[in-house]
Symmetry: C2
Subunit: 303 residues, 2 copies
């Protein structure tokens, strides 16, 4: 079984009937599962977490994008969060038995269909980007819906798919393959924020640390301790255990113990398996020998 995750963002966080209308498009499709969805009225934006097999997932995402284009008019949209489309961004994340290349190819299939059938300009971003300036979503989104009528005329901002003209009400959309993002925090047994800041600096990419780590130091006021708060943007290339062990080493240098850690939100089974793999020095191990995973595969095979 192949599994892909998607976390599409829609520019509507207030009108329940609109949000339900969009989510319902995914509910109709077999082999696509809605894990979660939530709306922020201030941002006027909703985020849906879906998982599915590649083909039905693309179908669900296309139908949701179509519905969003019918129900949302960006000319009347206000909200705190920057946005450029009724469906603003569609990330695709390989979860199980799917390579990065397959995922990129899925993003192109979806992008082309949205461009052709819905007349919405599509920008490929992150791992699917067709130029380095398009890797970063915020680069693409700069100028937002209001500025895009002009931006789209620039040669370097010609869309990857669809018309060379902004959709009047639905704007433009970014589609791309990215890795699963793990939110991982490590708590240190000190109230000295400087230690957390120094360690965050040591592990994060921007200041010389690991390629796929974003990190900040925080105070946990109530517990009178400090935290290194991280996003691991590619757990396959920068695995959890390596980051954890380096934090432990650096903390020791200040005489500070690690008092705990936490994973916020979901973690893919493969990330968990690789922790066990490292510490137990497993010789050949993969997630397919995990009982619950085997059941999942049986169920999907059956259908």
């Amino acid at each position: 079984m192949k599994l892909v995750e998607s976390v599409p963002n829609f520019s509507e966080g207030r009108r329940k009937e609109v949000i339900e209308g969009i989510v319902n498009e995914a509910r109709k499709i077999r082999r696509v599962w809605i894990l979660d969805y939530s709306s922020d009225p201030d941002h006027n934006r909703s985020v849906v977490t879906l998982v599915g097999e590649p083909e039905p997932l693309l179908e669900a995402l296309f139908k949701m994008t179509k519905k969003a284009a019918e129900l949302i008019d960006l000319r009347k949209h206000t909200g705190e969060h920057p946005r450029m489309g009724a469906t603003d961004v569609i990330p695709l994340v390989p979860i199980m038995n799917v390579t990065k290349d397959e995922c990129i190819s899925l993003s192109r299939i979806l992008g082309e269909r949205i461009g052709n059938e819905l007349n919405i300009p599509v920008y490929l971003y992150e791992q699917s980007a067709t130029s380095p300036t398009r890797e970063n979503l915020s680069n693409i989104r700069k100028g937002e819906f209001e500025g895009f009528s002009e931006k789209i005329k620039m040669k370097e901002w010609k869309p990857d798919f669809g018309p060379d003209k902004v959709h009047p009400s639905a704007g433009v959309v970014a589609v791309g393959c990215r890795e699963f993002l793990i939110a991982f925090n490590v708590n240190l047994g000190t109230d000295n924020i400087e230690v957390a800041k120094k360690i965050a600096k040591a592990v994060r990419h921007i200041s010389g640390g690991f390629r796929y780590v974003k990190a900040l130091g925080f105070k946990l006021e109530e517990r009178k301790i400090v935290q290194v708060s991280m996003n691991l943007t590619n757990f396959k290339k920068t695995p959890i255990h390596r980051v954890f062990e380096v934090i432990k080493l650096e903390a020791e240098r200040y005489g500070v113990p690690i008092v705990g850690s936490e994973i916020v939100g979901l973690i893919p089974l493969n990330a968990l398996s690789s922790v066990a793999d490292f510490y137990l020095r497993l010789e050949k191990f993969d997630s397919s020998t995990v009982l619950e995973n085997k059941i999942l595969q049986k169920i999907v095979e059956e259908e």
Copy 2:
């Protein structure tokens, strides 16, 4: 979602149509999944691995036991493996969101139904046992089918459910709750078998080690190294990481490194999670935040 595993053993390992007939009973039932089944012609015995939600799983096990009683006649059965029933033993293993007490109660419900409706005497064993002499399956099975007509007359071997008389063709059956068994081997960087034997002795229950560890030392001739080969009979109370770390410590004392380890067969997600939990010092973590597990729960909820 609640999940229970069962690994029933049937006294037929040669006639394919009989084995298929028994397995088919489980195939008919929704929310029960057959993960694996295999037959040994020399033992003349088949082992089926099933997982399911409690109620449908009990239904499947009852139907399989009924079918086995129809198709197998122990008076004509020969094979190397000791046996006392057409369905010889039905272990129930709590996998997800099921307590030991619930599992024991499930074994009693199943045992009572088999006793009443199929007229087969039932012995509750392991965690379900009604007396210490019945905890160990081999104690119950001593004398086998042929000896049971006499054994059953003894006061201490009065069945827990069903008639006080052996079923003429289907014998008797043991039903009970036990923990998931993990086969875990640790490989040591030496060809000195004595080191493996000493470490096996250090960790196994019988010689003073951990309560839920069975262990032996072996030579891996081809690789010219030795192995501590283990069964962990209760990973909740004697977790993998603790056994691994003690082996590492003991090996160090002989100047021997751990070169690798392996998990043979399936491992429950909770066992894997507890490894990550220990090494990453997770503050609040449970398997429900694992993506694949969440999908599994969604699918089952949907049905």
